[in-house]
Amino acid sequence: MRLFGLFMVIFIMWIMIMIVSYFLVFIIGPLHISLFNNTTDRLISSIVKATLAIGLVVVLILLLGNLKTKYLQKTLQRN
Protein backbone atom coordinates (compact mmCIF):
# COMPACT_ATOMS: atom_id res chain seq x y z
CA MET A 1 0.00 0.00 0.00
CA ARG A 2 2.05 2.93 -1.34
CA LEU A 3 -0.33 5.56 0.06
CA PHE A 4 -0.86 4.02 3.53
CA GLY A 5 1.73 6.30 5.17
CA LEU A 6 0.20 9.41 3.59
CA PHE A 7 -3.30 8.30 4.61
CA MET A 8 -2.03 8.01 8.18
CA VAL A 9 -0.37 11.46 8.07
CA ILE A 10 -3.59 13.06 6.76
CA PHE A 11 -5.61 11.15 9.36
CA ILE A 12 -3.31 12.32 12.18
CA MET A 13 -3.58 15.92 10.86
CA TRP A 14 -7.38 15.56 10.99
CA ILE A 15 -7.27 14.20 14.55
CA MET A 16 -5.05 17.15 15.56
CA ILE A 17 -7.57 19.62 14.07
CA MET A 18 -10.38 17.88 16.00
CA ILE A 19 -8.39 18.02 19.26
CA VAL A 20 -7.62 21.73 18.78
CA SER A 21 -11.33 22.38 18.01
CA TYR A 22 -12.27 20.47 21.19
CA PHE A 23 -9.88 22.56 23.31
CA LEU A 24 -11.10 25.82 21.76
CA VAL A 25 -14.76 24.98 22.37
CA PHE A 26 -14.71 23.15 25.69
CA ILE A 27 -11.62 24.45 27.50
CA ILE A 28 -10.81 27.95 26.22
CA GLY A 29 -14.39 28.98 25.25
CA PRO A 30 -15.96 28.77 28.75
CA LEU A 31 -13.00 30.53 30.44
CA HIS A 32 -14.02 33.58 32.44
CA ILE A 33 -11.67 35.78 34.40
CA SER A 34 -13.05 37.89 37.25
CA LEU A 35 -10.65 40.58 38.39
CA PHE A 36 -12.55 43.86 38.73
CA ASN A 37 -16.16 42.60 38.63
CA ASN A 38 -17.06 45.04 35.85
CA THR A 39 -17.06 45.17 32.01
CA THR A 40 -13.24 45.22 31.95
CA ASP A 41 -13.34 41.55 32.95
CA ARG A 42 -15.03 40.67 29.64
CA LEU A 43 -12.31 42.45 27.68
CA ILE A 44 -9.55 40.75 29.68
CA SER A 45 -11.26 37.36 29.24
CA SER A 46 -11.51 37.91 25.45
CA ILE A 47 -7.83 38.90 25.20
CA VAL A 48 -6.75 35.87 27.23
CA LYS A 49 -9.00 33.57 25.15
CA ALA A 50 -7.70 34.99 21.86
CA THR A 51 -4.08 34.64 23.03
CA LEU A 52 -4.67 31.04 24.13
CA ALA A 53 -6.44 30.22 20.85
CA ILE A 54 -3.61 31.65 18.75
CA GLY A 55 -1.08 29.85 20.98
CA LEU A 56 -2.96 26.58 20.46
CA VAL A 57 -2.88 27.03 16.68
CA VAL A 58 0.87 27.74 16.89
CA VAL A 59 1.30 24.52 18.91
CA LEU A 60 -0.71 22.66 16.22
CA ILE A 61 1.60 24.02 13.50
CA LEU A 62 4.70 23.02 15.53
CA LEU A 63 3.27 19.53 16.08
CA LEU A 64 2.54 19.22 12.35
CA GLY A 65 6.14 20.29 11.66
CA ASN A 66 7.32 17.58 14.05
CA LEU A 67 5.08 15.00 12.37
CA LYS A 68 6.37 16.05 8.96
CA THR A 69 10.02 15.74 10.02
CA LYS A 70 9.48 12.25 11.47
CA TYR A 71 7.54 11.07 8.41
CA LEU A 72 10.15 12.48 6.03
CA GLN A 73 12.99 10.80 7.93
CA LYS A 74 11.09 7.51 7.91
CA THR A 75 10.04 7.60 4.27
CA LEU A 76 12.62 9.44 2.20
CA GLN A 77 15.81 8.38 3.97
CA ARG A 78 14.79 4.72 4.26
CA ASN A 79 14.03 4.56 0.54
Partner: protein
Protein backbone atom coordinates in the same frame (compact mmCIF):
# COMPACT_ATOMS: atom_id res chain seq x y z
CA UNK B 1 -35.28 34.03 0.99
CA UNK B 2 -35.18 31.95 -2.21
CA UNK B 3 -37.81 29.18 -2.41
CA UNK B 4 -36.74 25.54 -2.92
CA UNK B 5 -38.13 25.39 -6.45
CA UNK B 6 -36.22 28.56 -7.37
CA UNK B 7 -33.03 27.19 -5.81
CA UNK B 8 -33.29 24.13 -8.07
CA UNK B 9 -34.11 26.23 -11.13
CA UNK B 10 -31.39 28.85 -10.51
CA UNK B 11 -28.92 26.12 -9.59
CA UNK B 12 -29.47 24.27 -12.87
CA UNK B 13 -29.31 27.56 -14.77
CA UNK B 14 -26.01 28.87 -13.36
CA UNK B 15 -24.40 25.41 -13.41
CA UNK B 16 -25.31 24.84 -17.05
CA UNK B 17 -24.32 28.37 -18.04
CA UNK B 18 -20.88 28.19 -16.44
CA UNK B 19 -20.26 24.69 -17.83
CA UNK B 20 -21.39 25.50 -21.38
CA UNK B 21 -19.52 28.83 -21.65
CA UNK B 22 -16.23 27.31 -20.50
CA UNK B 23 -16.70 24.06 -22.42
CA UNK B 24 -17.39 25.80 -25.73
CA UNK B 25 -15.04 28.80 -25.43
CA UNK B 26 -11.95 26.82 -24.39
CA UNK B 27 -11.19 25.19 -27.81
CA UNK B 28 -11.23 28.62 -29.50
CA UNK B 29 -9.08 30.04 -26.70
CA UNK B 30 -6.59 27.16 -27.11
CA UNK B 31 -6.31 28.04 -30.84
CA UNK B 32 -5.88 31.73 -29.95
CA UNK B 33 -3.09 31.01 -27.44
CA UNK B 34 -1.33 28.69 -29.92
CA UNK B 35 -1.56 31.38 -32.62
CA UNK B 36 -0.10 34.01 -30.26
CA UNK B 37 2.68 31.60 -29.26
CA UNK B 38 1.61 31.63 -25.61
CA UNK B 39 2.77 28.09 -24.95
CA UNK B 40 5.00 26.33 -22.43
CA UNK B 41 6.68 22.94 -22.58
CA UNK B 42 5.17 19.92 -20.84
CA UNK B 43 8.42 18.49 -19.47
CA UNK B 44 6.85 15.26 -18.24
CA UNK B 45 6.01 13.89 -21.71
CA UNK B 46 8.11 12.39 -24.53
CA UNK B 47 9.03 15.11 -27.02
CA UNK B 48 8.10 17.79 -24.47
CA UNK B 49 5.08 19.11 -26.42
CA UNK B 50 4.06 22.76 -26.28
CA UNK B 51 0.88 23.37 -24.29
CA UNK B 52 -1.01 26.69 -24.40
CA UNK B 53 -1.27 28.68 -21.17
CA UNK B 54 -3.12 30.27 -19.29
CA UNK B 55 -6.71 29.00 -19.05
CA UNK B 56 -7.53 31.50 -16.31
CA UNK B 57 -9.31 33.99 -18.63
CA UNK B 58 -11.75 31.33 -19.91
CA UNK B 59 -12.55 30.21 -16.39
CA UNK B 60 -13.07 33.83 -15.35
CA UNK B 61 -15.46 34.59 -18.23
CA UNK B 62 -17.68 31.58 -17.47
CA UNK B 63 -17.78 32.23 -13.73
CA UNK B 64 -18.24 36.03 -13.96
CA UNK B 65 -21.17 35.79 -16.42
CA UNK B 66 -22.89 33.10 -14.32
CA UNK B 67 -22.39 34.97 -11.04
CA UNK B 68 -23.58 38.33 -12.44
CA UNK B 69 -26.76 36.72 -13.76
CA UNK B 70 -27.20 34.98 -10.41
CA UNK B 71 -26.84 38.34 -8.66
CA UNK B 72 -29.75 39.75 -10.66
CA UNK B 73 -31.82 36.71 -9.71
CA UNK B 74 -31.20 36.67 -5.94
CA UNK B 75 -29.70 40.14 -5.21
CA UNK B 76 -27.23 38.95 -2.56
CA UNK B 77 -24.23 41.22 -1.94
CA UNK B 78 -22.15 38.15 -1.03
CA UNK B 79 -22.01 37.37 -4.76
CA UNK B 80 -20.31 40.73 -5.43
CA UNK B 81 -17.72 40.16 -2.70
CA UNK B 82 -16.92 36.60 -3.87
CA UNK B 83 -16.74 37.84 -7.46
CA UNK B 84 -14.43 40.76 -6.58
CA UNK B 85 -12.16 38.43 -4.60
CA UNK B 86 -12.05 36.05 -7.57
CA UNK B 87 -11.31 38.83 -10.08
CA UNK B 88 -8.53 40.36 -7.95
CA UNK B 89 -6.93 36.91 -7.49
CA UNK B 90 -7.19 36.34 -11.25
CA UNK B 91 -5.46 39.68 -11.98
CA UNK B 92 -2.65 38.84 -9.53
CA UNK B 93 -2.20 35.44 -11.20
CA UNK B 94 -2.37 36.94 -14.68
CA UNK B 95 0.40 39.43 -13.84
CA UNK B 96 2.48 36.44 -12.72
CA UNK B 97 1.61 34.61 -15.96
CA UNK B 98 2.81 37.58 -18.07
CA UNK B 99 5.88 38.49 -16.06
CA UNK B 100 7.75 36.22 -13.66
CA UNK B 101 7.33 37.81 -10.25
CA UNK B 102 9.32 37.08 -7.05
CA UNK B 103 8.10 34.48 -4.56
CA UNK B 104 6.58 37.00 -2.13
CA UNK B 105 4.34 38.56 -4.81
CA UNK B 106 1.41 36.13 -4.82
CA UNK B 107 1.02 35.51 -1.04
CA UNK B 108 1.26 39.20 -0.13
CA UNK B 109 -0.85 40.66 -2.93
CA UNK B 110 -3.54 38.02 -2.38
CA UNK B 111 -4.31 39.74 0.94
CA UNK B 112 -5.87 42.45 -1.29
CA UNK B 113 -8.21 39.83 -2.74
CA UNK B 114 -9.61 39.23 0.76
CA UNK B 115 -10.52 42.90 1.28
CA UNK B 116 -13.91 42.83 -0.57
CA UNK B 117 -15.14 40.06 1.75
CA UNK B 118 -14.26 42.12 4.82
CA UNK B 119 -15.58 45.43 3.44
CA UNK B 120 -18.86 44.01 2.11
CA UNK B 121 -19.34 41.97 5.28
CA UNK B 122 -19.81 38.59 3.62
CA UNK B 123 -18.36 36.80 6.61
CA UNK B 124 -20.15 35.83 9.80
CA UNK B 125 -18.96 36.48 13.33
CA UNK B 126 -19.04 32.80 14.28
CA UNK B 127 -16.40 30.26 13.32
CA UNK B 128 -17.69 26.69 13.06
CA UNK B 129 -15.35 24.59 15.21
CA UNK B 130 -16.94 21.13 14.70
CA UNK B 131 -18.18 20.85 18.32
CA UNK B 132 -19.71 24.34 18.46
CA UNK B 133 -19.45 27.83 16.99
CA UNK B 134 -16.99 30.38 18.39
CA UNK B 135 -17.98 34.05 18.48
CA UNK B 136 -14.86 35.83 17.21
CA UNK B 137 -15.88 39.13 15.55
CA UNK B 138 -12.39 40.69 15.73
CA UNK B 139 -10.24 37.58 15.21
CA UNK B 140 -12.32 36.75 12.14
CA UNK B 141 -10.82 39.63 10.13
CA UNK B 142 -7.17 38.45 10.24
CA UNK B 143 -8.48 34.93 9.65
CA UNK B 144 -10.08 36.06 6.37
CA UNK B 145 -7.01 38.07 5.36
CA UNK B 146 -4.85 34.98 5.81
CA UNK B 147 -7.25 32.30 4.51
CA UNK B 148 -7.55 33.72 0.96
CA UNK B 149 -3.74 33.86 0.34
CA UNK B 150 -3.21 30.46 1.99
CA UNK B 151 -5.88 28.59 0.00
CA UNK B 152 -5.01 30.46 -3.22
CA UNK B 153 -1.36 29.49 -2.96
CA UNK B 154 -2.23 25.98 -1.79
CA UNK B 155 -4.19 25.25 -4.97
CA UNK B 156 -1.43 26.99 -6.96
CA UNK B 157 1.25 24.74 -5.46
CA UNK B 158 -0.65 21.49 -6.10
CA UNK B 159 -0.98 22.26 -9.83
CA UNK B 160 2.13 20.30 -10.79
CA UNK B 161 0.64 17.73 -13.21
CA UNK B 162 -2.01 17.59 -15.90
CA UNK B 163 -5.50 18.18 -14.51
CA UNK B 164 -4.50 18.04 -10.83
CA UNK B 165 -5.72 21.52 -9.78
CA UNK B 166 -9.11 21.26 -11.52
CA UNK B 167 -9.62 17.61 -10.49
CA UNK B 168 -8.62 18.40 -6.91
CA UNK B 169 -11.04 21.34 -6.72
CA UNK B 170 -13.88 19.23 -8.20
CA UNK B 171 -13.37 16.46 -5.58
CA UNK B 172 -13.02 18.83 -2.62
CA UNK B 173 -15.97 20.98 -3.73
CA UNK B 174 -18.38 18.12 -2.92
CA UNK B 175 -17.94 18.23 0.91
CA UNK B 176 -17.88 22.04 0.67
CA UNK B 177 -21.27 22.07 -1.06
CA UNK B 178 -22.74 19.65 1.49
CA UNK B 179 -21.33 21.77 4.35
CA UNK B 180 -22.76 24.94 2.80
CA UNK B 181 -26.19 23.27 2.54
CA UNK B 182 -26.04 22.10 6.18
CA UNK B 183 -24.33 25.08 7.91
CA UNK B 184 -24.41 27.93 5.42
CA UNK B 185 -27.23 29.14 3.26
CA UNK B 186 -28.72 28.31 -0.12
CA UNK B 187 -27.47 31.52 -1.76
CA UNK B 188 -23.86 30.46 -1.10
CA UNK B 189 -24.69 27.03 -2.53
CA UNK B 190 -25.89 28.74 -5.73
CA UNK B 191 -22.72 30.89 -5.78
CA UNK B 192 -20.54 27.78 -5.52
CA UNK B 193 -22.13 25.91 -8.44
CA UNK B 194 -20.50 27.97 -11.26
CA UNK B 195 -17.08 27.17 -9.75
CA UNK B 196 -17.82 23.43 -9.59
CA UNK B 197 -19.32 23.16 -13.07
CA UNK B 198 -16.78 25.57 -14.57
CA UNK B 199 -14.01 23.36 -13.16
CA UNK B 200 -15.71 20.23 -14.56
CA UNK B 201 -15.88 21.85 -18.02
CA UNK B 202 -12.26 22.99 -17.91
CA UNK B 203 -11.13 19.59 -16.61
CA UNK B 204 -12.10 18.10 -20.00
CA UNK B 205 -9.20 20.09 -21.53
CA UNK B 206 -6.89 20.21 -18.52
CA UNK B 207 -6.92 16.46 -17.72
CA UNK B 208 -4.10 14.16 -18.83
CA UNK B 209 -2.85 14.77 -21.51
CA UNK B 210 -3.48 18.51 -21.08
CA UNK B 211 -4.60 20.59 -24.05
CA UNK B 212 -4.27 23.74 -21.93
CA UNK B 213 -2.55 24.69 -18.66
CA UNK B 214 -4.29 26.79 -16.01
CA UNK B 215 -1.40 29.15 -15.29
CA UNK B 216 -1.25 31.15 -12.07
CA UNK B 217 -4.34 33.13 -13.13
CA UNK B 218 -6.37 29.91 -13.22
CA UNK B 219 -5.05 28.34 -10.01
CA UNK B 220 -5.27 31.54 -7.93
CA UNK B 221 -8.79 32.11 -9.24
CA UNK B 222 -9.82 28.57 -8.23
CA UNK B 223 -8.15 28.74 -4.81
CA UNK B 224 -9.34 32.23 -3.89
CA UNK B 225 -12.93 31.60 -4.97
CA UNK B 226 -12.91 28.31 -3.04
CA UNK B 227 -11.66 30.17 0.06
CA UNK B 228 -14.21 32.97 -0.28
CA UNK B 229 -17.00 30.36 -0.52
CA UNK B 230 -15.67 28.69 2.65
CA UNK B 231 -15.94 32.02 4.46
CA UNK B 232 -19.34 33.02 3.02
CA UNK B 233 -20.68 29.52 3.68
CA UNK B 234 -19.46 29.20 7.32
CA UNK B 235 -17.44 26.14 6.34
CA UNK B 236 -13.82 27.19 6.98
CA UNK B 237 -12.68 24.18 9.03
CA UNK B 238 -14.54 21.68 6.80
CA UNK B 239 -12.84 23.20 3.73
CA UNK B 240 -9.40 23.08 5.33
CA UNK B 241 -9.96 19.38 6.16
CA UNK B 242 -11.00 18.65 2.55
CA UNK B 243 -7.88 20.44 1.30
CA UNK B 244 -5.51 18.60 3.70
CA UNK B 245 -3.35 16.92 0.99
CA UNK B 246 -2.78 20.31 -0.68
CA UNK B 247 -2.26 22.02 2.69
CA UNK B 248 0.25 19.29 3.54
CA UNK B 249 2.04 19.87 0.21
CA UNK B 250 2.40 23.61 0.88
CA UNK B 251 3.43 22.99 4.48
CA UNK B 252 6.06 20.40 3.46
CA UNK B 253 7.46 22.72 0.81
CA UNK B 254 7.57 25.83 3.02
CA UNK B 255 9.06 24.06 6.03
CA UNK B 256 11.77 22.41 3.93
CA UNK B 257 12.87 25.50 1.93
CA UNK B 258 12.26 27.78 4.99
CA UNK B 259 11.17 30.76 2.88
CA UNK B 260 8.51 31.80 0.36
CA UNK B 261 9.92 31.12 -3.10
CA UNK B 262 8.58 30.19 -6.52
CA UNK B 263 8.99 26.54 -7.54
CA UNK B 264 11.07 27.67 -10.53
CA UNK B 265 13.58 29.33 -8.13
CA UNK B 266 14.38 25.99 -6.49
CA UNK B 267 17.79 24.73 -7.62
CA UNK B 268 17.37 21.09 -6.55
CA UNK B 269 14.22 19.54 -7.97
CA UNK B 270 12.14 17.32 -5.64
CA UNK B 271 11.56 14.79 -8.45
CA UNK B 272 13.56 13.75 -11.51
CA UNK B 273 12.49 12.25 -14.82
CA UNK B 274 13.69 8.74 -15.78
CA UNK B 275 14.61 7.82 -19.36
CA UNK B 276 11.16 6.15 -19.77
CA UNK B 277 9.49 9.40 -18.59
CA UNK B 278 8.45 7.91 -15.27
CA UNK B 279 9.16 10.20 -12.33
CA UNK B 280 11.24 9.34 -9.30
CA UNK B 281 11.90 11.04 -5.95
CA UNK B 282 15.13 12.97 -5.61
CA UNK B 283 17.74 11.35 -3.34
CA UNK B 284 19.27 14.78 -2.68
CA UNK B 285 18.70 15.81 0.94
CA UNK B 286 18.63 19.49 -0.05
CA UNK B 287 15.67 18.95 -2.41
CA UNK B 288 12.40 20.34 -1.05
CA UNK B 289 9.87 17.94 0.42
CA UNK B 290 6.62 17.86 -1.54
CA UNK B 291 3.55 15.62 -1.66
CA UNK B 292 4.67 14.20 -5.01
CA UNK B 293 8.15 13.41 -3.65
CA UNK B 294 6.52 11.47 -0.81
CA UNK B 295 4.21 9.62 -3.23
CA UNK B 296 7.29 8.66 -5.26
CA UNK B 297 9.38 7.68 -2.22
CA UNK B 298 8.64 3.97 -2.73
CA UNK B 299 9.59 3.94 -6.39
CA UNK B 300 9.06 5.66 -9.77
CA UNK B 301 5.58 6.19 -11.24
CA UNK B 302 4.16 7.54 -14.47
CA UNK B 303 2.57 10.99 -14.50
CA UNK B 304 -0.89 9.43 -14.84
CA UNK B 305 -0.29 7.15 -11.82
CA UNK B 306 0.80 10.12 -9.69
CA UNK B 307 -2.32 12.10 -10.70
CA UNK B 308 -4.56 9.15 -9.72
CA UNK B 309 -2.85 8.91 -6.32
CA UNK B 310 -3.29 12.66 -5.66
CA UNK B 311 -7.01 12.25 -6.45
CA UNK B 312 -7.22 9.25 -4.10
CA UNK B 313 -5.71 11.40 -1.31
CA UNK B 314 -8.20 14.19 -2.12
CA UNK B 315 -11.04 11.66 -1.90
CA UNK B 316 -9.72 10.41 1.46
CA UNK B 317 -9.56 13.95 2.90
CA UNK B 318 -13.03 14.66 1.49
CA UNK B 319 -14.34 11.58 3.35
CA UNK B 320 -12.79 12.99 6.56
CA UNK B 321 -14.53 16.30 5.76
CA UNK B 322 -17.86 14.42 5.44
CA UNK B 323 -17.27 12.74 8.82
CA UNK B 324 -16.54 16.19 10.29
CA UNK B 325 -19.78 17.56 8.79
CA UNK B 326 -21.71 14.66 10.38
CA UNK B 327 -20.06 15.25 13.79
CA UNK B 328 -20.71 19.02 13.59
CA UNK B 329 -24.34 18.42 12.59
CA UNK B 330 -24.92 15.98 15.48
CA UNK B 331 -23.45 18.46 17.98
CA UNK B 332 -25.44 21.33 16.47
CA UNK B 333 -28.69 19.36 16.76
CA UNK B 334 -27.86 18.33 20.32
CA UNK B 335 -27.90 14.61 19.39
CA UNK B 336 -24.51 14.16 21.04
CA UNK B 337 -22.70 16.20 23.67
CA UNK B 338 -19.48 15.94 25.67
Amino acid sequence: MVSTINIVFYGIFVSALSFLIIYFITPAFIKFLNKKGKVVKDYHKPGMPNVPRPAGPVLLIGIVISEILLYFLILDVKIISVLLTTIIAFIIGYIDDLKTMPGWFKPTTLILAAVPIVILGSHGNYLGLIFDNAFIPILYIPLILSLIPIVGNTINSIDVFNGVATGFVIITMIPLLVSVIVFGNNNVLLMALPLLFGSIALYQYHKFPSKIFLGDSGTLLLGSMYASLLIAGNSEIIGVIALLPAVMNSFLFLSSVKKIVEHREIKTRPVTICSDFRLKASKDNSAPATLVRLILAKGPLTEREIITRIFILATFSSILAFISIAIQYLFMMGKISL
